[in-house]
Symmetry: C2
């Protein structure tokens, strides 16, 4: 079985061909053209045909195309309602790709929802039927799998873990306009901000970055933290406590079997996991402890595999 | 249709006969005998027969019996796993009542879950398919209805709203042993505690209670607050902000159509609703605002009607 998968993110897009076992047969990655949505969709469609030709496949061999959008989606109508980062709104995604490719079976979903559904088909969904999926990346997004099915909520917007308040006394401003949101305290962007603030006031920490030519961001900070630098460790500890608070709310409310973490910051989970667990132990009622915390089984390709899995859901 | 309903709470028990429209045909209320569980179950069974005889009904006319327990329940097996307040554990509830009454169709559920299911059949469930049910009483409990069905979580314990952390800086101790839980800050018990603390340090406030012979608890404080007393209002305002924080977490995670509040403190919701709404407006991402906050349509009898509704769920 061949599935077309298109993962359109706020900054990058991946187009690929995936089989029913979740194997990526071929893929191409390129920059998202947020300034010209029509042109970007055209590029995605052309890239899908290019992937097919590379594999010596015809578009007629595709059972369907799954598409992720970085925002609010009406999955029934196949419409992107709003993608704040890209500045897109009210876009008929399904009908565009149906026409451009001739494939009728096209399914559109929010990218974090797709990750959670991808995990269901190709990852920990084989072990857990009730879990939370949390993307910790530039921002923080979430999705909930309840009894093996995506929980959508009243208007398809459940899982806004990034905007849970985790800090009331000394809150940071969030891109949403609110204060103290998890996204403003525990995301990659938040970690980078803390790194830059520390560099500005701590010349020794600043010199360390210069001397080893590290990027002054979450990634550079993770390298220093792994080498045992205390300031770098303390930045990750702070983020971990805030992430732990956010997870604790979700666990007290949902009683999940597992919390699965994906996104760029997931690769630094080793620096945070002890502090996350400690925070959870003091913030979750004891009857609900015993759930697992895992990094996604789908790795960097979680969203692309998620897009493909949409076709298996239907 | 005649349904037997038994609502066993930590302090009081109500036994009644309810019809399929949610009308209570007859009921009796009495104290829960937590010291002798066997004897209390026997009393419940006898009281059920008494209710039937009062209505000139035979037990053969019952389509089933729904039973609430004040703790963790294995609803499939009909067993009470643990009721911390009563000190009961590992009790075969279904089989006891099947034997004692001869009725085969017996269903056992946690009392807050029952309230949410009762609302589904007899109350706002006619309007909303995705809602949270929150009991604000001696403690705070919760339950989630997702697409018209109770969300159970990994091991049937979802909805622990009472143990969401709402205060990190100056947290109060919760009966669960944790600090800063919603139950420790927003329950009737928490309000009463604040009243007593204020009385201890504020002689004018103390005299006010004495002069009008008010009980020094949440109920007495509500009467003073309705008369415009600033100290009493500020106590309810504090509780409201904490309740608002708890609701905000639930809304960001679940995107409900409505939040339905029951329990004793629900009758003081008028004193808190503005502050609850203001807190929600600053703590919930704007796309998820627009849900309704309601007090239960089932009133004081929510749990008894919930017990009856279990039979309609099956």
């Amino acid at each position: 079985m061949y599935i077309g998968a298109i993962d359109i993110g706020g900054t990058k897009t991946i187009v690929g061909i995936v089989n029913e076992s979740g194997k990526i047969l071929y893929k191409e990655q390129f920059k998202t053209n947020i300034n010209d949505r029509e042109l970007h969709f055209k590029t995605c469609s052309e890239m899908l045909f290019y992937c097919l030709s590379t594999l010596d496949l015809s578009v007629l061999q595709l059972v369907g195309i799954g598409i992720n959008m970085p925002g609010m989606v009406d999955n029934k109508k196949g419409i992107l309602i709003k993608a704040p980062y890209a500045g897109w709104a009210g876009t008929e995604v399904r009908s565009y790709f149906q026409e451009a490719t001739g494939v009728k079976n096209v399914y559109v979903e929010n990218d974090v929802n797709s990750c959670a559904i991808g995990e269901l088909h190709f990852g920990y969904g084989k072990t857990y039927k009730n879990y939370l999926w949390m993307t910790v990346s530039t921002g923080i997004g979430g999705a909930i799998i309840n009894e093996g099915k995506l929980l959508r909520g009243g208007w398809n917007c459940a899982g806004e873990f990034g905007h849970l308040k985790v800090e009331y006394e000394r809150p940071f401003l969030c891109p949403c306009g609110g204060w103290g949101c998890l996204e403003a305290h525990g995301s990659g962007t938040a970690i980078t901000k803390m790194v830059k603030q520390e560099i500005a006031k701590n010349p020794e920490f600043s010199k360390l970055f210069e001397s080893v030519n590290l990027s002054t961001d979450a990634v550079g900070c993770a390298i220093l933290a792994r080498e045992g630098n205390e300031t770098a460790c303390s930045i990750y500890k702070k983020a971990a406590i805030w992430i732990g608070r956010g997870i604790s709310y979700c666990v007290n409310i949902l009683n999940p079997d597992a919390v699965i973490i994906g996104g760029g910051v997931a690769s630094s989970l080793d620096l945070m996991i002890d502090h996350i667990r400690q925070t959870i132990e003091t913030n979750v009622i004891s009857t609900l402890l015993g759930f697992e915390i895992k990094t996604t089984m789908l790795g960097y390709e979680a969203a692309l595999l998620g897009a493909a899995s949409l076709i298996l859901e239907k």
